[in-house]
Amino acid sequence: MKKAKKILSLITAAALLTIGLAGCTETAQQDNSGTSGTTQSQTAKLSGNISMVGSTSMEKLANALSEGFMAANPGVTVNAEFVGSSAGIESLVGGKCDIGNASRALKDSEKSSGAVENIVAIDGIAMVVNKANPVKNLSKDQLIGIYTGTIKNWSEVGGSDTAIVVVGREAGSGTRGAFEEILGIEEKCVYANELDSTGAAMAKAASTEGAIAYVSLDVINDTVNAVSLDNVEPTADNILSGSYFLCRPFVMATKGEISSQSDLVKAFFDYVESSEGQEIIKKVGLILPQ
C-alpha cells in the first residue's frame, strides 16, 4: 500500500511538474503577445495560509489542487484536513476554515447558515460487467437489489442464467462510500469480493463471467462493458445534463460568495478555474462542471 502511495505521489508530482511547465510557457506567450504581465505580478504578491476542511473522498482532488496552487504561488500554504463533508461545512460556517469541502450537494440548512455551494468537479461512477454479459441496462432498483443480495442471478434482470458475483471496494474507499450513499444502501451491501483497488475490481469484472463492479468513470476501457443505468449511458455529457444518477458533486464551499472572500481564497478559485486547475481535476479522474 505504502509503495503504491509513494508511486502515486511520484506520478502526481511528475504530472504537476509538467502542468507547471506548461503553465510557464503559457504565461510566457501571454507576455510575448503583450497583453499584460499582471498574472505574474499578482501571484508574486500572494502569501499566507488557506485552510480547507472536509470530505475524505475529496482528499485526492484537494491535495492535487493545493499542491498545484502552492507550486504556482510559493508564498502560500494550503492546509487541508479531511474529516468528512458535514464536519467540513460545520467548520466553515463556524469560521474555523476558509473552504469547506463536501462531496455532496449542500443541504438547505447549510446554505441558510451562510455556506455557498461552489461545485468544482463531479465524481461519476460506472457499473461494469463482463464482456460476455448480455445485460446492457439496469434500473436503479435492480442495481440496489443486486448489491443488497435480493437479486442473485442475471436472468432476473434480463440476462443469461448466470449467478451474479457482486464485486465492491474495501470499507473506507471513496468510490464505495459514494456508491452506497447515492443508492442509499450504506452498510446493506452484500459483497462477494471486497477488492482494495480500482484496477483489481476492473480485472475481476473482466475475468469473471457473472461479475459486476463499480469503478470511477474515468477508468472504463474495452476489457469490460459499462452498463447504462435507467437507460442512460455513463458518459460525462449525461452526467453534466443530470440524467445519469450515479454521480455526486465535489463542493468547495465558502462562507459568502467567492467575490467577498480574501484575495488569497479568490486566487485559489481563479486557479481552480484556470486551465492548469481544470487539467488537475481531469487528471484525478473527475468531470468538469459546466
Partner: protein, 311 residues
C-alpha cells in the same frame, strides 16, 4: 632465549586481549540491535494495538462477527477474520506438511542421485519466488477453475453467494505451495543429519528400506521436522500479498467456497483509507496476529524441547 619468547608471548597475548575485547563489544552491539528491534516492535504493537481494545471493548472486537468499520454505528468484530486465519493455516499445514515431509524423504532416501540433484534446485527456486507471483498465478489459474467448480456445485443453491472463484480453498492451495519449500528443505536437512549407524543397525536387524525410513529415521529426525512445521505455520499465517489476491477479501465465516478475509489481508486491504478508530482497530488486528505468532512459536518450541528431553 627463554625470556625473549616469554615477552613475545606476553606482547601477543596483550594484543590478543584487545582484539578479544573489541570483538566481544562488537558482537554485543550486534546482539543488542536484534534484541532492541524485538522489544521495540513488541512495545510499538502493544502501544498501537491496545487503545482500540480499550475504546471498543475486547469482546466487541474478538468475539463479534460483524465487521462494519465505516457504518454510522460502526462494528469492529474480527471473529470471522480470526477463525479464517486459524482454519486457513490449519488446512494449509494439514495438506502441505505431509507433501513436504514425504518429498524430503524422497529427496534424501529414495530418489536416484541424479533425479534428486535436479529436484533440489527446483525446490530452492520455489522458495525464492516472490509471494505476489504465487498470488497472480492463483488469480489467473486457480480462481477461474474454482469459479467453474462453484458453478457446478452450487448450480441450484438459492443461498450460496457466488464469489467468482475467490474463496478459502484458493487461498489454502496457494499457501500449501508457498510453505512447501520451507518444509521440504528443513525436514530434508533433519533427515540427513540422522547418523548412518542407525540406518545400518536397522538394516542389520532385517528391516526393509521403507520400515527404516518410517520407524527409525523419521522418529530420529522428529525435532527437525517439528521445526519445519513451526516455520511453515509462521509463513502461512503471516502471508498477506498472495492470499489477498485470491481470497476475495469479504468478511465471511471460513467455509471452503466463501470469500474470506485473513488477519493479514484485513490490515493490508483497509490501511490505505482507514481513519480514527478504524485505523486503531487495524493495529489491534496486527497485535492479535503478533500474539498468535508468539504463542505458536513458544508453545511449539516447548513441545519440541520436551521431545528432545524424552529422547
Amino acid at each position: 632465549m627463554k625470556a625473549n619468547t616469554n615477552s613475545s608471548v606476553m606482547r601477543s597475548s596483550q594484543t590478543k586481549v584487545v582484539v578479544e575485547n573489541t570483538a566481544q563489544i562488537i558482537f554485543t552491539i550486534c546482539a543488542v540491535v536484534a534484541i532492541l528491534a524485538v522489544f521495540s516492535i513488541t512495545l510499538y504493537m502493544f502501544l498501537k494495538g491496545v487503545p482500540a481494545f480499550a475504546d471498543v471493548g475486547v469482546a466487541e472486537i474478538l468475539f463479534n462477527p460483524v465487521w462494519e468499520p465505516t457504518a454510522q454505528n460502526p462494528s469492529f468484530g474480527i471473529l470471522y477474520i480470526i477463525l479464517t486465519s486459524i482454519v486457513g493455516t490449519a488446512m494449509a499445514i494439514i495438506l502441505g506438511v505431509p507433501i513436504g515431509v514425504l518429498t524430503a524423504v524422497f529427496l534424501s532416501e529414495v530418489a536416484p542421485k541424479k533425479l534428486a540433484a535436479a529436484v533440489r534446485p527446483a525446490v530452492d527456486l520455489l522458495a525464492g519466488i516472490p509471494s505476489v507471483i504465487y498470488g497472480l498465478l492463483g488469480l489467473m489459474i486457480l480462481n477461474p477453475f474454482m469459479y467453474k467448480l462453484e458453478q457446478i456445485i452450487f448450480e441450484n443453491s438459492p443461498t450460496h453467494q457466488f464469489t467468482g472463484g475467490a474463496n478459502l480453498i484458493s487461498a489454502v492451495l496457494v499457501l500449501v505451495i508457498m510453505i512447501l519449500p520451507t518444509v521440504i528443505n528443513i525436514s530434508q536437512s533433519a533427515l540427513q543429519a540422522v547418523p548412518k549407524s542407525l540406518k545400518d543397525a536397522s538394516f542389520g536387524l532385517g528391516a526393509s528400506h521403507i520400515q527404516t525410513i518410517f520407524k527409525v529415521q523419521m522418529p530420529a529426525a522428529r525435532s527437525g521436522i517439528v521445526t519445519a512445521i513451526v516455520l511453515g505455520i509462521g509463513r502461512a499465517i503471516g502471508e498477506a500479498m498472495a492470499i489477498s489476491l485470491v481470497s476475495g477479501s469479504s468478511v465471511n465465516p471460513p467455509f471452503p467456497f466463501n470469500s474470506v478475509r485473513f488477519l493479514t489481508t484485513a490490515i493490508v486491504s483497509e490501511m490505505g483509507y482507514a481513519a480514527d478508530t478504524h485505523r486503531m482497530v487495524l493495529f489491534s488486528i496486527g497485535l492479535v496476529l503478533f500474539v498468535f505468532i508468539m504463542v505458536i512459536n513458544i508453545v511449539l518450541t516447548k513441545i519440541l524441547k520436551g521431545e528432545k528431553h524424552d529422547a
